[in-house]
Symmetry: C2
Subunit: 322 residues, 2 copies
C-alpha cells in the first residue's frame, strides 16, 4: 500500500521528557519534515526577565541531540556559572538553568519583546539547532497552569520545581486559556495529520492544556487522522513526574485505564505496557483498540522501536477501520 | 591636622580599566564608605535584549575583587558557555560576555525593565558583591557615545570592540546628552567631596561624557574639593586603549600635557609619570601643580601606592592653597 502525503504525516501532542523521547523516536522512523510536535506551553513562566519554556526546550534539545540523558531536560554537559553568579547576587537559584540553556532564554526573550510570536521564535531556534521537524507551541498566547492544593493555589513551577511536587493536587486550571487560541500552524498540523500521536506525557498538565484550548478537543476528535495514545502510566506508576499522584488526588484511576478514560472520546488506539495487559478488556470497552508492548523508553533505539510500533498500530487500525 | 568629613571624602570620576584600578587603590587607602566613584555610562548598549554597562561592571568587579587580572575587565576565571551557545544559534559573538558576567546583565536588565533606575540597580548589585564604596552611574538617562570616522558614524562598541579601534576618529559626540542629567547622588558626591580625582581614563570618551553632562563641568570647576587628575598618557602612549591615537586625530597633543590641557580649567593638581617630567613646566603653565611619580599601576599594592600619592598631593595642595 502506498501512502498519500496525509497518511505519512505525523503530528504528536507532547509535554516534556516523555513527549520528547517519543518525538525523537518518531523523528527517527518518519521523514523528519513530515513530523510536527505540538507542545504544551502552559508550564512556561518568566524568571529574571526571561521567558522560560520548559517543555518546548526539552523537545527541542532532545530532537537536536543535545538533551542531558541523565535528566531528560537541559543540555548534556551544561555548566551552571551564570546561575551560581545570580545566586551570588542574593537570588534564590530554585529553577535549574544551565549556561548553554540561558542562551535559549536570552534569545527567545529578546525576540518575543521585539514582537515575534513564540511559534516564530521556536521555529528559528530549532532550525538553528538543526531540527528538521516542526516544533509547534500549542499557542502564542499566555496560558498558565495553576495548581490548587488544600492550602493555596500555586503557579505550576512553584508546585513542580520549587516545592518538588510535595503538595496534594486538588485542582488544576489553565489561567488565560479561555482567551487563548491554538496557533494556525498547530491547527493545520492536527487537521492534516495521517496519525495524531498522544505522547506518554502527563494527561492532566501536559496533554490537558493542549486539549483544553478552545475548540481543540473537538478538532482532534473530528480530525481525519488516526489517533494513537501511549500510556504514561505503567504498572500504576508514572515513568517520571507526579502524574500518578495527580490522577488519584483528582479522582481518576492511577492506571493505564485511568489515562485511557480521560481520552475515551478521542483515541482510536491506546498503547499500553505489557505490565498493564490485564486491563486490556476494560480499555477496549472505552471504544479503542489496545496495543500491548514494552512501553518504557530508554535509549534512542528504544524510542524508535516504540515509535515504529505506534505507527504500525496506526497502520493496522487504519486497515481495520477502512 | 585632623580632617573633617568633607576633607576625608573622595569622589573619583572614572571610565573602565584605568579608572577601576585607581578606584581600587583609593578604596584601599580611605574608608570605603567615604569613597564614591562616578562612572561613565556613555559606552553602555543593548545586546540580545540585555543592558550592558562595561565601565560600571569593570569598576564593580574590580572593587569586588572579582576582576580578571589579565584583561582588567570581566570576571576572573569566567567561562563562555552561554556566549558559545548564543553563537550556535547563529548570532555573532563579537562582544565577550562571560557566563558569570551574564548574571549581572540579566538581573540589571530585569530591574531596569521593572522601573528601577540604573543608580538603584548598580547600588544593589555592588552591595550584593560586598562593595562598600558607592559606584554611581554618571546619569540614569541614556547617553551614547558616537564615533565619527572618515567613512561613517559608529556606535561606540562597534568602534571599540567590533572593529577593534582600527578607524581614525575624526569626531566624538554623545547622543542624548543634551537631555540627560547627572544623577542627584553623583552631583552630591561632587559637591561634598574633599578631593575629586580624575582617574587615568580616556579624557575624550570616558571622563569626557561625565564632564559633558549639562552643567557638570561648571559644577566640578566650582566644587569646594581639590581636583587632582592622573594622566592616562605616559611617554606619549596610552596605558590601554586608543586614547593616544584619539587625542592626535582629534587635534590634541598625545601627551600628559595634551590631557592636562583638556582639563586646564578644572584641575588643581596633575599627577604625571616620571617619563613625562620634561613636560612639568608646560603643564604648570596651565595653572596646576604637578606631581611626578610612577604612574603605572600593576598589582593591588601599586594601585594603593598611587592612590596614596594622589591623596598626599591633595593634602599638600590644600596646605599650599590655605
Amino acid at each position: 500500500m502506498s501512502l498519500t502525503q496525509r497518511e505519512r504525516s505525523v503530528t504528536a501532542l507532547a509535554g516534556g521528557v516523555g513527549g520528547a523521547k517519543l518525538a525523537q523516536g518518531l523523528a527517527d522512523v518518519v521523514p523528519p519534515s513530515s513530523l510536527s510536535i505540538v507542545v504544551n506551553t502552559a508550564d512556561d513562566f518568566d524568571l529574571w526577565g526571561l521567558r522560560i519554556c520548559p517543555d518546548l526546550d526539552t523537545v527541542m534539545y532532545t530532537l537536536a541531540g543535545l538533551a542531558n540523558p541523565a535528566t531528560g531536560w537541559g543540555i548534556a554537559g551544561d555548566s551552571s556559572a551564570t546561575l551560581d553568579a545570580i545566586a551570588r547576587y542574593g537570588e534564590a537559584p530554585w529553577f535549574q538553568l544551565g549556561d548553554q540553556d540561558f542562551a535559549t532564554h536570552i534569545l527567545r526573550s529578546e525576540a518575543l519583546r521585539s514582537g515575534a510570536t513564540l511559534t516564530e521564535v521556536t521555529g528559528k531556534l530549532s532550525h538553528n539547532l538543526g531540527v528538521a521537524s516542526s516544533i509547534l507551541p500549542m499557542t502564542d498566547d499566555i496560558v498558565s497552569t495553576m495548581i490548587r492544593t488544600p492550602e493555596t493555589v500555586l503557579a505550576f513551577q512553584d508546585y513542580f520545581v520549587r516545592r518538588r511536587q510535595v503538595d496534594t493536587v486538588t485542582g488544576v486550571t489553565f489561567a488565560g486559556i479561555e482567551n487563548a487560541s491554538m496557533s494556525a500552524v498547530a491547527l493545520a498540523a492536527i487537521d492534516s495529520a495521517g496519525v495524531i500521536v498522544f505522547c506518554p506525557s502527563n494527561p492532566l498538565v501536559s496533554i490537558g492544556p493542549i486539549l483544553s484550548l478552545p475548540g481543540v478537543r473537538d478538532r482532534v476528535r473530528k480530525a481525519p487522522g488516526l489517533r494513537v495514545g501511549v500510556s504514561p502510566i505503567i504498572g500504576g506508576k508514572a515513568i517520571k513526574g507526579p502524574a500518578d499522584r495527580m490522577l488519584e488526588s483528582l479522582g481518576h484511576e492511577s492506571s493505564a485505564y485511568g489515562v485511557a478514560h480521560l481520552y475515551a472520546d478521542l483515541l482510536d488506539v491506546f498503547v499500553i505496557d505489557t505490565r498493564d495487559e490485564f486491563d486490556r478488556a476494560r480499555i477496549e470497552d472505552l471504544g479503542m483498540r489496545v496495543v500491548v508492548t514494552d512501553a518504557v523508553m530508554g535509549d534512542r533505539g528504544d524510542r524508535a522501536r516504540l515509535a515504529g510500533e505506534v505507527l504500525d498500530a496506526a497502520g493496522m487500525a487504519r486497515e481495520a477501520v477502512s
